[in-house]
Amino acid sequence: MSRTVTAAGLTTLVDDLLRSHPPAATDPHEFLGARFDAGLAWVWAGPGDGGLGADPALQPLIEQRLAAAGAPAPFRYNPIGIGMTGPTLLTHGTPEQRGAYLRPLFAGTEIWSQLFSEPGAGSDVAGLATRARRDGDEWIVDGQKVWTSYAHIARRGLLIARTDPDVPKHAGLTAFVVDLTAPGVEVRPLRQLTGEAEFNEVFFTAARIPDTQRLGPVGAGWRVATTTLMNERVSLGGGLSGGVDPGAALLAAYQEAADRGDGNPVRRDQAIRLWIEANVNALTAARAAAGGNRGRPGPEGSVLKLAGAEHSRRAAAYLVDLMGPAGTLIPDYRMTRPGLPLGGGGPRDTAAAFLRSRANTIEGGTSEILRNILGERVLGLPGDIRVDKDVSWRDIPR
């Protein structure tokens, strides 16, 4: 099968799937598995990898038709897997790896997480210290990862580890698929300022990974990580484009305040300003999606991630300001850990959403890192002066 798949042909395939697996009467995991088998997971991927080798521009057609029919959204069942590690596996996985991992990933029967950041490697992900030492057909891993969403319920993780500390930092990294239920892997909750433990710390103590679970060549881990990070930014930034009016919640909140007598022309102007921002970001997302090369995210992802994160922070603070002291009450600080599938996306309470929004400009690349990326990779400005370049990782101060 080649890129001759047509829109009409796809429509037929989607309709066949919906007929053979009526969403209302089918277990979501089973449905998603069948969707994968039909080549409707990532339409541009190859046969057997959940695709049909079709034009990526056809993907939205599938998504829309399935959503309209009430089919389960794969993202809700495996957010990191669908948003980040799946596309990475498609790009860098061997046929065996793709065959082993992609279907359960897409079906949501194996939850995925991403193991990049470390306490000492935040913005400087490439400076990470978790070591993987070769031992015959296996690798032995020691170290600590942090900020790993869903690690407490995930079966697998995409791990980047240092396999050679004696070369410059980007060159000594290798990517692995790690079984988070294996011996030597310990997952601990990490509590955030929201009170929740949305993220985890993951400790590796002589954990063993077969070399067959290595993703890409030894030393090519940074390339794998970059694919994932760019997908992450698209995923984080792209969440903004949903809905008919992405600023509707702001208007509704202002209206509610005005109805209770707290209207104020200054707050009204701010509401409209934020409403405009939300709509402009959605338009930029639509423009990027229409013009971009789906599956291989380009730098537009970074524009959206930056603009979207800054906007959502402002909008969340605005909603608290609008409520006044009543906005500074919070339902709960109890430590909870998130489960899957994700909810339908109902609004958090105002103060809780406000607190959570502070992570938007940090997670998936801080706004500072994103400005560097935009400046250097999009605008072609010269890099920062680097003191950690062309020296072996071992010799970098940390």
Partner: protein, 388 residues
């Protein structure tokens, strides 16, 4: 609705861009901005005859090309990027837009072909002494002019005469008002605010050039003293016409400004790469690099919202147009000004000189931000329309 251009549209952009490269280099911008009329008649003719720009969005029956606002937006973006000095906004957007909006087939038939062929330069005179647009729907100053505390000022009045009408009063901040051959002007007749046509050389018409900060776009005050005028449409028609034209003008200006914002970003980036201080390009300092990144975000947002507004204008739904136009005008107005200001800052001292072109964009940006209603005004309109 897609925000991506067709191959044909991209071809139009390339054509206009390469035309403006020779038609509007900085040296020409400087020569023309120092002149009274501020445009080059030869270039204006070429725009009409070789490229058909003045009539791009005009139906073919009037000599136009029959395209829409998406194509016009492309042209305006490139003009803004080059600071083209020409009465395009006045003639092709305002005057042409008014004739297309008003219910007067005869006037269209008689007047549009001249505007399209570039032999006539038109403009639209609608503003009172502050230059601010009046609240939506009012279409201009009331018969006594002004509002609130300013009520003493007189608006522009139309009196019925033996053959047609005569006008008395002043219109302010008229784009290219001193050079226009055809002035469409709103005035209060018995039947309400009405649209009139007055030739540039009409009796009793005094045109005073205004000392504008942005020398690349001329403005004038026009005083009418029993000036004979021709009614366009019927008495009382002008209100909705002006509302519609101002919305389209906001869309046009947003696209033009997105082009300007693109250029100042390019200038800033080029300087940040070339200028060495402390032994390294200043663009290697995050203070400069991150400012450029923020400019990029604003430029991309400006394009998105301006393209969107042009598409909505092309589609023709007036309620959606009102929203899209105000959104684009408010967002791009601030984004262009901020980017033009950042460009000066990144250039440092050299950006503050007369010789560098940074200030030309800066002055255009601030003037455009305030033209046809500033961002606060348009956010207010949006709030009303979104019913909050």
């Amino acid at each position: 609705m897609s925000l991506v251009f067709s191959d044909e549209q991209e071809e139009l952009r390339r054509t206009v861009r390469s035309f403006l490269e020779h038609a509007s280099p900085e040296s020409e911008v400087r020569r023309l901005m120092e002149s009274d009329d501020g445009y080059d008649p030869a270039i204006w003719r070429q725009m009409a005859t070789q490229l058909g720009l003045q009539g791009l969005h005009v139906p073919e029956e009037y000599g136009g090309a029959g395209f829409g606002y998406v194509e016009l937006g492309i042209v305006l973006e490139e003009m803004g990027a080059r600071l083209l000095c020409a009465p395009f906004l006045a003639s092709a957007v305002l005057a042409t837009g008014a004739l297309l909006a008003v219910d007067d087939a005869l006037a269209r038939k008689e007047l549009l072909p001249g505007l399209v062929s570039g032999t006539t330069i038109g403009t639209l005179a609608f503003a009172g002494p502050t230059g601010r647009p009046e609240p939506a729907g009012s279409g201009g100053l009331g018969p006594q002019g002004g509002t609130g505390a300013e009520g003493g000022h007189h608006g522009l009045l139309a009196a019925r005469a033996a053959s047609g009408y005569t006008l008395r009063g002043t219109r302010h901040f008229v784009l290219d008002g001193a050079l226009a051959d055809l002035i469409l002007v709103t005035a209060w007749a018995e039947g309400g605010l009405s649209l009139f046509a007055v030739p540039g050389d009409a009796a009793g018409l005094t045109r005073s050039r205004l000392p504008v900060m942005d020398l690349t776009r001329k403005q004038a005050d026009l005083t009418f003293s029993d000036t004979p005028a021709r009614l366009i449409g019927a008495e009382g028609d002008a209100g909705p016409v002006i509302d519609q034209v101002l919305r389209l003008a906001c869309v046009a200006l947003a696209n033009e400004s997105a082009g300007g914002a693109r250029t100042v970003l390019e200038q800033a980036v080029r300087h940040a790469k070339d200028r060495l201080q402390f032994g390294r390009p200043i663009g290697s300092f995050q203070a400069v690099k991150h400012r450029c990144a923020d400019m990029l975000v604003a430029v991309e947002g400006s394009k998105s919202v301006a393209y969107h507004a042009a598409q909505v204008a092309a589609a023709g739904d007036s309620d959606r147009l009102a929203r899209a136009a105000s959104m684009a005008k408010a967002y791009v107005g601030e984004a262009y000004f901020s980017a033009a200001a950042d460009n000066i800052q990144i250039h440092g001292g050299i950006g503050f000189t007369w010789e560098h072109s940074a200030h030309l964009y800066f002055k255009r940006a601030k003037t455009s931000e305030l033209l046809f209603g500033d961002p606060v005004h348009h956010r207010g309109l949006l709030a009303d329309r979104l019913r909050v």
